[in-house]
Each structure stands twice: as C-alpha cells, then as structure tokens.
C-alpha cells in the first residue's frame, strides 16, 4: 500500500484521526505541564503565565498536524466551487445571461461538430485507415469512374502497389425472412472486402476465398450490426439462418461489428453480399448474365467502386502511375467486340481513410461554412460573458480588495475567479448539450430521404463520447478564454482607491472601459458578418426556389416499385405496369398517371447521344440526360410538347424505335429545322442504336435546379423495359393523401412488393435544395442569435456605464442638464461603439463572403441589398439596446444620485 492510498483511507476515518490527534496533543501538553510543575512547584502554584496559553498553542499544533492528512488543493477547489455557486445564486440575472450565452455558443458548436466529425473528420473504423486509398478510373469528363468486374479482378491480382484492393457497389435490395419483406441497403463486395479492411465480424465470419471464385455458387451474406439488432433482436443463433434477398435464398454467415458502416461515407449498408452473387441479385435481365464472366462483361461500363490498401513506402503518385500502366495493358489486351480499342483509363489514387465520400460532396462546403460561423458565435458568447464578468469584477472590487488586504494571495484570488468562470462554462456546456441535441435533430431533418434506389445519405446525429469530449474541451477552453482577462484585471485593483469606493468619472478606469468597449465592437462586427452571410444564403435560396423547373411540381405523387425484386419476366413486368397504370388511373382524384425511370431533380442518368449525320468535334461532350417513360409522361409533368407527339400504347417492340428529345437537343443537331422524323443515335459503337424523333418537348430541369440544360432524350418504356419504375401520379387534390390508395393498388397486384421513394414532386424539389436550405436556415438562426448576444453585450456595457456614472449624471442634471441631453450623451457613446463595430463588420463581411461565392445562386457576395438589410437590422436592435439605459439615465433623480 502506498502512502497515497494510506492517506486516501485516512480521509474516510478523518473524524477518528482527529479525535486521536486531539487526545495525543492534549496529553503532550499535560505531561509537559506536569514536568514543569515537578521542576518548579512554586511558579506553578503562582500560576504559570504560559499555562493558560497551552490551549491556544495546542489548537495551533493540532491544526498544523491535522493538515498533514488534508488535501489542500482539493479542499481549496471545493471551497472555491461553493463560493462560486453562492456568488452565482446572489446574481441570478448575471448568471442567467452568462449561462444562456455560453449554452448558445457551446450548443451550436457541439451540434455542428457532431455532424462534421462524422462527415468530415472521422476515419473508417478499420485497421490502419490511413493506408486506404480511393482508386478511380478517369476516362474523360462526365464518364463514370467505376470499374467492371473482370478489369477489377485483373487490377486486384496483377498490381504490385497494393496490399489489397477491394471493389463494391451499393444497391437497394429486398430482404425477406419469415414472410416479412423489407427494402434494405446492400453493399455488393469483393470477397476480400472484410479481410483487406481488417474488419472482424462481431458474430460469425466474413467471406471465405472460395466464396469469391465462381459465380452464383455461394449464396452467403453478412448483415450489419444495426439490422441484426433491429430485425433479428440480436439473436446469436443468426448464423446459418436462411433469408431471401431479391427472391433468392441466402444464408447469413456473419454480423459486422457495431461501429462498421461500410466504406461509403454517410451511408449505412444493412447487408454485405459477395460480388459472385451480383448477377442473381440483379433486377435487370441483361445484368443477370453480363456482369461477371460473359465476353461482354469487360467492355461494359464500370460498376465497382475501388478501395485499395497501399503497400508501406509507396506514395499515392507511384501507385497511380503503376495502376495507370497496368490498366492500359489490360485495356489493350481486351479490345471492344468489334476490335476497336478501349479507352485506356487514367487511374487516380486519393486518400481513402474516410472511404468514398461522393455523397458528402454537396454538404461538405455548407458544413465548413457552418463550422466557421459557430466558432464566431462562440467568440461572441465569450466576449459577452467576459464583459459581464468585467462589469461584475468592478462591482466586486471592494470584496476583492478586502480579501487582498486581509492577506489573500493574488494567485489564490485568480484561482477563485477562474473557478467561478469554469463553473459558469460547465453549466453553460451542460445546457449547450441539450441545445445541441435538438439542433442536431433539426439538421438531420433537412437531409433528403433516399434520393434514389441506389444511394442514400444517412446522417448520424447521435451525441457520442467523442462529441461529449469535444463539448467538455470547448467548455474548459471558453471558461479560460472569457475568465482569464477579467480575473487578471480584477485582481490588479489599486487597493486604496477601491476601498475608498471611488465613483467612476471621466478618465477614471479608462483601461477597463476600453477593453469592454472593444469586446462589444468585436461582437457587433462578428454579428454583422454572420447576418450578412445569412442574408446572402436566404437570398440565394429564394432565387433557387424561383428557378423555372420547366415542369409543374405541384400535385404530383411519385412512388417507386421494382418488380425485379419478385423476379418478374419482362412480359410479366410489362403486364404488371399496364395493370397498375390502369388501376391508378381509375382512382378518384387522379388526373393523369405515367411511369418513368428517373425522378426529376434526382440523381439523373446520362447517355451518349448525337443527331444522325452530326460530326462531333474531338473531345466534344455528347452526354445527354436520359429517361425511359410511359405514355402521358409529359402530360403528367405538364412539360409542353413543342412539336410532334408523346409516346403512346402503340410504341412497342414491333414498331419503329422512337424517341422524344428536348428543345436543346433539337436546336443543337438540327438548328433552324424541324427535328421530327430525324434520327438520333444513342450509345457508342458497337452498341449504337438509332431512334426516330417523334416529338420535341420544352427544356426542363432534370438533375438539379441549377444545372445548365443539356440535350435530353426520352424513350418509350414499352420499347425499353426496366423492372424498377417510378409511378408519377398527377392528382386534383393534395397528392400525399393519394399514397395509401396507390399502395393498395400495388398490393392488390403483388402484396410482396415494397414501395420506395414515396414522396411528392414538391418534396423532391425541396429536398434537392437541402444544402441551401440547411445553410440558409441555420445561418439565419445563428445570425439572429449573434445579434441577440451582441445586443445584450451592448446593453450590458451601456447599463453598466450609466450605473457607474449615476453620480456624475446627477450633478449634470442638478446643474441644469435636461433629460434629453443626458439621453443624447449616453446614446452617443453607445452609437459610436455600434458604428465602429458595424463598419468593421461590413469590411469583414466584404472580405469573408467572397469565400462563399461558389455556394450562392444568382447573388453576388457583395450584394448591396443584403449588406444594407443586415446593417439596418443591426442598427435597429442595437439602438433599442442602447436606448433603454439612456432612458434610465435621463430619469436620474439628481438629489438621490448626488447623495449616493
């Protein structure tokens, strides 16, 4: 047992130790007195003068001895905390404003951090994530950077730069078990996925080498920890359980560890399936035979995303160069079916420690912007509390001076004041956590629902230990930040003048005043910057909303169905959709109904298209937006038909292949002429496919509101079948109320089919703007909070100043100054502070908003209206904050004030 633990044990029996010490020391003095009496009985009898002193001596000795068992630092801290709590109770107004300021500052930071941590900061929970790289194959602008399976297999086996290369594809699947079907996110992964990442399943195993060799022979899967808990109640007998995925029997062999959510950021797969089973899971008949080993599989466009683990000592550049060489050799070794050369991709190698982050592309910038903003808010909050503490320090000057005069060390006092600051920030931090939790919920509410069948942005807003650690750290830092300067200043008090209780008059305490005014100037400036930023984002959002989409989004319900999940043949699928259209069309309240593969303002789909006879310039982008639609699609969408006709029931596989193109395509390929009857060529050799143009429609927005419209081509569903389609229903009433009826019709046809992407087109439009909405809403909120904090700061400073100068103001009034003059005197001082802050803030905003230019739509970063609006709002609020103390000052009763 060490001395430390003996001492710790002593704390529990401190009363006993105390009693023993008392007795021991008393005995000591008694023995000493007895000895003295023996030696000098005469003096003792006369009453030894020292005798009476024994009790006070022994008390002193006892005190010193007892302290050996004490914990002086802890006891002082406890004392400081209790003292601090008492001070806070005695000034409830101050405490409330300070805690609220801190809660806002800390809460905003915690909420944004908890998101940023998961989105931008945290690495994959795999072994050595820093070795991971995203490997992509660049084949020119606008072309997918994914890789087909045979090429991937060659990259994996023949490269010399990776300790492992994995490939995967995200895909929605239908999982059924015990007769219950649900649509889940799946990740189709190469068999080496778990072993290369170094992820050990929580239960069961990962995939075995033989499960990665031959197509269709090993129907096994690993499920996520989340699905295991949610669907199977964490049953440990899950291993070996038969389930059905897209209608095929599979066996569960493992459960992924709880922290592991795949390697695509912001998405969370529920099941992991070996790539050898990909053809069975496909819902497209073509893909069922052509993904893995047919001769076509190598010349198809890619579908696997690659993640590699670089060998130690190999740089990203070396890996990229080696892989580009290898990819070139493979492309040359396997030309296209007609003998034409394949494109030799340039292989790019980038940091993959966070996995694939494409889904975060849109949210990254607004998040960084919000991070900067919440830091500014925290600065304002700190300035506020520092200001309040400075004000309080001057009211406590007498108390502090007395303590200094009675011998308290300056360090001891600073420690006391810092303890109070940290106590404040701790309470503020706790309140901030509560605020952060609700703010996080708000943020996640902005993110789009599953944007299409294949990808979904899943933002995790739980407050975990990392976030709690962050909050703790930020609370301590802010406590020191706002507490230190006031503590230093307060304890530098000139004892004599403080004890004399001087009233502050002009020129006195100039230094304190300057720091306090400076803090308010900074607060005003920062809130101007945040307000301008918010204003710009709001204007940008309004502009985005007013963009003409080219279609009518109101009163359209979309609902997706995938009959491939029930393994329908093409014929059965066509029949199903024909029946469904017929049933839905007959529902009351339905005006028109159609089908499409792409939902407008969704992810979109690109194809290569040119007009027949058009000679593209080298490197010319022939990309076009592409959609397969049923009859009446343009009527449902209210996209005007400019020429020709829509598709109808007679456009089938036995009639000529037809297409409808948009205005941009018609103008590009047949400028000044009618496009009707001309041919468009889709795809690239050898799979080119001519189609006759039967209609031209007005341009509309296909993928995003801000896109430059490019050529678009529509094909009739009856000629180009797909198993997964989205029903588009135009209603006469509120479209969302139609969902239940549509669901009933789908289930009447096939009860096992899950519906997905169920939303209105209006919702689709709104959620496509989620980053702008997120930024505009949060920035506005933060801007108003900043303004409020700055107003409180200004009010505090002015009210304090008026209070300190009551005496002086009283004299002025006694000498004949009018209330209005006093008001002006106070207002002028506050207005000067406000104006300096405003000007500095506008300059700062002018410099700062240039950084967000790329995020703004149709608003210049120096938009005068926004700047003027922010300035006006600030002036209005600060004038009010200034007016209240000024009015108070003007109502000073001179006789009372002078007597003070």
């Amino acid at each position: 047992m060490t001395a430390f633990f003996r001492k710790l044990k002593g704390w529990w029996r401190r009363d006993e130790i105390d009693a023993e010490l008392q007795e021991e020391i008393r005995t000591h003095f008694e023995m000493k007195a007895a000895d003295l009496a023996d030696r000098n009985p005469a003096r003792h009898a006369a009453g030894h003068p020292g005798h009476g002193g024994h009790s006070s001596r022994s008390a002193l000795v006892l005190e010193d001895t007892r302290s050996v068992w004490g914990w002086p630092a802890l006891e002082a801290l406890w004392h400081d905390l209790r003292y601090g709590a008492r001070m806070m109770r005695n000034a409830p107004g101050f405490t409330a404003v300070a805690v609220l300021s801190l809660a806002i500052g800390i809460g905003a930071n915690t909420a944004i951090f908890s998101l940023a941590d998961k989105v931008l900061i945290r690495k994959l929970p795999v072994s050595a994530p820093d070795q991971l790289v995203v490997v992509s194959a660049s084949r020119g602008a606008g072309v997918s950077t994914t890789t087909n399976y045979p090429d991937f297999a060659d990259y994996r086996d023949k490269n010399e730069v990776f300790d492992g290369l994995v490939g995967y594809m995200q895909r929605a699947m239908t999982l059924s078990e015990s007769g219950r079907a649900e649509r889940v996110q799946g990740l189709i992964v190469s068999g080496n996925y778990f072993s290369v990442l170094g992820v050990t399943p929580a239960v069961g195993r990962g995939f075995l080498p033989e499960e990665d060799k031959t197509p269709a022979t090993h129907p096994v899967l690993v499920i996520s920890h989340g699905l295991w808990q949610r669907r199977f109640g964490g049953d440990r007998n899950i291993i070996g359980k038969p389930v059905s995925v897209n209608g095929n029997p599979f066996t569960v062999v493992g459960v992924a560890p709880p922290a592991f959510n795949g390697t695509i950021a912001a998405s969370a797969p529920d099941v992991y399936v070996p790539v050898m089973m990909v053809e069975q899971l496909s819902t497209s008949p073509f893909d069922r035979t052509n993904l893995l080993s047919s001769p076509r599989s190598r010349t198809l466009s890619g579908w696997l995303q690659l993640l590699g683990r670089v060998k130690p000592g190999i740089s990203h550049e070396q890996a990229a160069a080696a892989m580009t060489t290898l990819a070139g050799q493979i492309a040359r070794a396997y030309p296209n079916a007609d003998g034409s050369p394949r494109v030799e991709p340039k292989i790019l190698v980038e940091d993959g420690s966070r996995g694939h982050t494409n889904l975060l592309r849109d949210i990254k910038f607004p998040l960084q912007m919000l991070m900067a903003t919440v830091l500014l808010i925290l600065v304002i909050a700190c300035a506020n509390v520092a200001n309040l503490l400075l004000a309080r320090a001057s009211t406590r000057q007498k108390e502090i001076a007395i303590r200094l005069a009675t011998g308290a060390g300056r360090m001891r006092l600073i420690r006391q004041l810092m303890t109070e600051s940290l106590l404040l920030s701790a309470i503020g931090g706790l309140a901030g956590l509560a605020l952060a939790a609700s703010l996080s919920g708000l943020i996640v509410g902005f993110t789009p629902p599953n944007n299409n069948a294949f990808s979904s942005l899943t933002l995790d807003n739980r407050l975990d230990t990392r976030v709690l650690g962050f909050t703790l750290a930020i609370s301590v830092i802010t406590g020191i930040l706002f507490g230190l300067a006031p503590a230093l200043i307060a304890t530098r008090t000139d004892l004599v003048s403080a004890l004399r209780d001087d009233a502050a008059v002009f020129g006195k305490k100039k230094r304190h005043f300057n720091l306090r005014n400076l803090l308010v100037v900074a607060q005003v400036a920062v809130s101007v910057i945040v307000l301008v930023g918010a204003g710009l984002c709001v204007r940008s959002l309004r502009n985005l909303y007013s963009i003409d989409t080219g279609f009518d989004a109101s009163k359209v319900l979309v609902v997706s169905v995938d009959v491939g999940l029930s393994s329908y043949t093409r014929e059965r699928g066509l029949q199903f959709y024909a029946d469904l259209l017929e049933r839905v069309r007959r529902l009351p309240g339905v005006e028109a109904v159609s089908l499409a593969t792409q939902i407008a303002l969704g992810d979109g789909f690109g194809a290569r298209m040119r007009g027949d006879g058009y000679q593209p310039k080298p490197g010319e982008d022939l990309g076009a937006d592409f959609n397969q639609v049923a009859s009446d699609y343009f009527q449902v969408m209210k996209i005007p038909l400019l020429e020709g006709r829509e598709f109808n029931e007679s456009d089938t596989t036995t009639t000529p292949a037809v297409a409808v193109i948009n205005q941009t395509a018609a103008r590009r390929y047949w400028p000044g002429q009618s496009a009707l009857g001309r041919r468009v060529i889709l795809g690239r050799p050898p799979d080119e496919q001519p189609r006759v143009v039967v209609g031209v429609v007005k341009d509309s927005k296909y993928r995003r509101l801000t896109e430059e419209v490019r050529p678009a081509v529509f094909m009739p569903f009856l000629q180009r079948y797909r198993a997964d389609m989205t029903l588009h229903v135009r209603t006469s009433g509120e479209p969302s109320t139609m969902l239940a009826f549509v669901r009933r019709e789908v289930q009447a046809l096939d009860a096992s089919l899950p519906l997905y992407n169920t939303r209105t087109l209006e919702d689709q439009k709104t959620s496509s703007l989620y980053t702008s909405r997120l930024a505009a809403t949060l920035l506005t909120m933060f801007g108003l909070l900043a303004l409020m904090l700055a107003a409180v700061g200004l009010y505090g400073v002015m009210a304090y100043m008026v209070n300190r100068r009551t005496h002086e103001i009283g004299i002025r009034m006694a000498l004949g100054a009018q209330g209005s003059e006093v008001r002006r005197l106070v207002m002028t001082e506050g207005t000067v502070i406000m104006l300096i802050g405003l000007v500095l803030g506008l300059i700062g905003a002018l410099a700062g908003t240039r950084l967000v230019e790329s995020f703004l739509y149709d608003v210049r970063p120096n938009d005068p209206l926004t700047f003027a609006g922010a300035a006006a709002l600030l002036v209005a609020v600060t004038l009010l904050a200034n007016y209240l103390p000024a009015r108070h000052a003007s109502r000073t009763d001179p006789t009372m004030a002078i007597r003070q």
């Binding site: 001395a3 021991e24 020391i25 005995t27 000591h28 023995m31 000795v61 010193d64 050996v68």
Partner: protein
C-alpha cells in the same frame, strides 16, 4: 542557548530516538532529544506532530495507544522495518553532507 533543529534532520532524529528507546510517545521523543543534546536542540510541538503523522503515512513508524508509568493514555510510536531502512539512508546522507561541509569550513 537553544537552537532549532537543522532543517531536514528531524526525521532522522526521531527515527534514531525510536531506534534507541523502542516504543515511545511524542512527548518522550521531544524530551529525549532535548535532554540528550543538553537542551541545545529544541523540538517544537508544531513541528514534531506533523512530522510524526507524515512518518505514519509513509509507514516508517507504527502507532498504538498504551498507558504510561503515570497511568496516562498516550500514543506510542514504534520503528518499522521501512523506518529502519529510512534511518540508515538518512544517516548515510547526513554523514556525507557533514564530511563535505567540514571540508569546506575546516582549514586543510
């Protein structure tokens, strides 16, 4: 004339006293040191008792309540093996320091 105990030597003096006398109470220790040094060294209670408590915490001594010859209850301290080791170490250090000091202050 009375002298304060040279700093750093109190532990050694107390430990040595206990080594000589066996179990002894605080007053006895103080008395012994004063009498042995012809009352040159004065042991203050305010120094002795904190030192004894520290030595208890460090387990150099053990304490138990016993009755004195005069039928008083007093706390007796006993040297522990750790205390004995500490005493040896302190005496070694003290000797070395004294030798060094002598070399400085005595003419060669």
């Amino acid at each position: 004339m009375k002298t304060d105990i040279p700093s750093g030597t109190l532990y050694m003096l107390v430990l040595k006293t206990l080594a000589r006398l066996g179990p002894m109470h605080g007053y006895g220790i103080a008395l012994y040191i004063e009498q042995t040094t012809g009352e040159v060294l004065q042991v203050e209670e305010g120094t002795l008792y904190p030192a004894l408590q520290r030595m208890l915490i460090k387990a150099w001594v053990r304490a138990e309540w016993r009755t004195t010859e005069n039928k008083r209850r007093a706390r007796y301290y006993t040297l522990t093996p750790a205390g004995r080791k500490q005493l040896a170490a302190e005496m070694r250090d003290f000797d070395r320091a004294m030798t060094a000091i002598r070399q400085v202050i005595e003419p060669a």
